[in-house]
């Protein structure tokens, strides 16, 4: 560890504000391309609302398909922010510094994207208001708080509000830096956002406490969000393979697995795009790689438990779903092949790639491993939700398999463009690496003399 060198504050400002004060040549073409993809998806949503959900592959039997899979996937990605920022902040891990902001911002944009998915999925988005918000005074009909579909918005909105405030509070000192470095109307905007921050000891003390206190408060929310998302499925008695008590921790660990992998990939991209080699260093990626081995193994444990819990009861319907998931057969869709691919690319391949230290420090290998995890985790959700609905059950007279159609594929694909576009636009106006956090790390870094050797060390006040 401690590979970095102590840099002067002016250089830190120059390097980390480059994305704001200068526009790279690739920036607007890339943002425009992503914007076009999002536009195409928005038009498709319009067509879908106009013609109905019939243009998707959803049917009477399989009512939750690509959109809900994608909803859970993005909720999962959103868990990276708190995982990295809050846990590492509470643990005072020094290597968290360059990663926290990007992770928190990814949380916000992933949550926003996730929330769009069930709204689109309803087919009649305006009716979602009846379902989630207690406002229908005229007819006296209120949301049914006994359903997880009401718990879900309450948890996600709490998480989104908390994460957004967490990011804004941590941005205030950086707004002050931008206030002092800009002119014209940007200066006016940053002056308003900085709220008169001047960096006195009281403000810094509160800022540090805020980081710890908000981390401690958001952590339980983070756990509750994905637990509640899992209950969207776990509370459904009718669909076999969904009604499982292990879903909550399984979903939470899975979310951390995919989320942290996404953050690692985003950090590698940012390092490359903005030349932040002095800030996002190999030691950081290496440390995250080691963390991911532990998280991935925890997730794998819950995956195995989920399957064992399902099979152990020896209920006919449940076994039929498991057969659909794992055994070859004439089911139309070869879920078993997808299952093998999913386990391979979500656990075995990435963990093998993360084990050697040299590979953890190779950014190409780390990128491949992290993409692999996220493709796998998307598949995981699909294979968890769809076979249970597609399975033919006792006294079910209509049943269908599910084949996603182009509108679903386009909309789901565009969500990746949407999040990438929002991240890029954010980096254009706000620093994605916290300036004061990096500078604090440099202040706390010192050199120790041991015999004839000079060692780098970090000291803390408590």
């Amino acid at each position: 560890m401690q590979e970095g060198k102590v840099l002067p504050a002016a250089q830190i400002n120059r390097d980390l504000l480059r994305s704001i004060l200068e526009t790279p040549r690739w920036f607007w073409p890339v943002v425009s391309l992503l914007g076009l993809i999002v536009l195409a998806a928005s038009i498709t949503v319009g067509i879908m609302i106009n013609t109905g959900l019939g243009i998707t592959g959803l049917n009477y039997k399989v009512v939750w398909g690509f959109f809900i899979t994608n909803f859970v996937f993005w909720i999962g990605i959103s868990h990276a922010g708190v995982m990295l920022s809050a846990i590492l902040r509470l643990a005072k891990a020094e290597w968290r510094r360059p990663a926290t902001r990007a992770a928190e911002v990814l949380t916000i944009f992933s949550l926003m994207t996730a929330m769009i998915m069930p709204i689109i999925h309803t087919g009649r988005p305006w009716r979602i208001l009846y379902w989630a918000f207690p406002y229908d005074f005229a007819r006296g009909i209120w949301p049914n708080i006994r359903t997880p579909l009401v718990w879900d918005p309450s948890a996600i909105l709490t998480y989104l509000t908390s994460s957004t405030l967490f990011v804004i509070i941590a941005l205030v000192p950086d707004f002050a830096v931008l206030r002092d470095r800009t002119t014209g109307w940007p200066k006016l905007v940053y002056t308003l956002l900085a709220m008169g921050w001047e960096g006195n000891p009281r403000q810094w003390k509160l800022q540090i406490i805020a980081g710890v206190l908000l981390s401690a408060l958001i952590l339980p929310v983070f756990v509750s969000v994905h637990s509640i998302v899992s209950w969207d499925f776990g509370m459904a008695v009718a669909i076999k393979s969904w009604h499982s008590t292990v879903f909550a921790p399984y979903f939470v660990v899975g979310a951390v697995h995919s989320g942290v992998s996404a953050v690692v990939f985003a950090m590698i991209l940012l390092r490359w795009a903005y030349g932040w080699q002095d800030y996002i260093r190999h030691e950081h990626i290496d440390a995250l790689g080691r963390l991911l081995i532990v998280v991935a193994t925890g997730w794998f444990y819950f995956l195995v438990m989920e399957i064992i819990f399902g099979i152990y009861g020896l209920e006919g319907d449940e076994l039929a779903v498991r057969a659909l998931q794992f055994l070859p057969g004439d089911y139309g869709v070869a879920y078993n092949v997808w299952m093998i691919i999913f386990v391979g690319i979500t656990y075995f391949l990435p963990v093998i790639l993360w084990l050697p230290k040299a590979w953890r420090r190779n950014l190409w290998i780390m990128s491949a491993a992290c993409i692999s995890v996220n493709v796998g985790m998307w598949l995981e959700r699909y294979l968890l939700f769809v076979p249970g609905q597609a399975n033919k059950q006792f006294q079910t007279f209509t049943w269908n398999d599910y084949l996603p159609q182009w509108p679903e594929a386009l909309i789901v694909g565009a969500t990746f463009a949407f999040v990438s576009m929002l991240m890029l636009l954010f980096s254009r106006v706000f620093p994605l690496v916290p300036l004061y956090d990096i500078k604090e790390g440099d202040i706390l870094r010192t050199e120790m003399q041991v015999g004839r050797r000079t060692l780098t060390a970090t000291f803390r006040e408590d």
Partner: protein
């Protein structure tokens, strides 16, 4: 636009105009700034009259600054209580307003109420914590005091509110501690 007379009077009663003058010393390193702070203390300037301005947090007490008291820890508790109350009201009142008995079970279903109440509690606690951070940091501050843009470039500022008779002494202390520039609001 000039402030109306009665508002001016009200402000003067609430915040009596101070005789004190602001002096800002800019230092290139923490050691010089801390030396200047110590010298001010020795010269009898109360520690409530000076502040260090930095672009990143220094370990508490390392510059010799005063210990800051705050009540931030109260805010999350107040917010949590309010959030819990809102959660109970929303969940209980919506069920009582549409009392559909299902399977002979009580109208007020406690386990789902607990989930929504939990989220309300946490939301209240977090919202109030953020409000607390802003207020306890004495923000928003609509007018910056004596300040210099170089502070966010790594320089350390030492801002003193000095009595007019101390002005010369304070400037001298800053210069001898190695200030690269000393500014005043006069």
């Amino acid at each position: 636009m000039a402030m109306p007379g009665f508002l001016q009077q009200l402000r003067d009663v609430m915040y009596p105009p101070s005789r004190k003058q602001a002096i800002l010393g800019l230092f290139q390193d923490a050691e010089s700034a801390a030396t200047a702070g110590d010298a001010l203390k020795d010269a009898g300037v109360p520690d409530t009259d000076y502040d260090f301005l930095t672009d990143s947090p220094y370990p508490e007490g390392s510059l010799g600054e005063r210990e800051e008291k705050h009540r931030l820890y109260l805010y999350p508790f107040i917010g949590a209580l309010l959030g819990l109350s809102s959660g109970i009201m929303i969940t209980a009142m919506t069920q009582v307003a549409y009392p559909l008995v299902t399977g002979g079970k009580p109208v007020l279903s406690l386990p789902p109420m607990a989930i929504v109440c939990y989220e309300g509690t946490m939301l209240g606690a977090i919202l109030f914590t953020v409000i607390g951070i802003v207020f306890e940091s004495r923000l928003p501050k609509f007018q910056l005091g004596l300040y210099d843009d170089r502070i966010t470039q790594g320089f350390l500022g030492l801002r003193v509110n000095a009595e007019p008779e101390q002005r010369y002494e304070v400037i001298q202390i800053m210069n001898s501690a190695g200030a690269v520039e000393v500014k005043t609001d006069q």
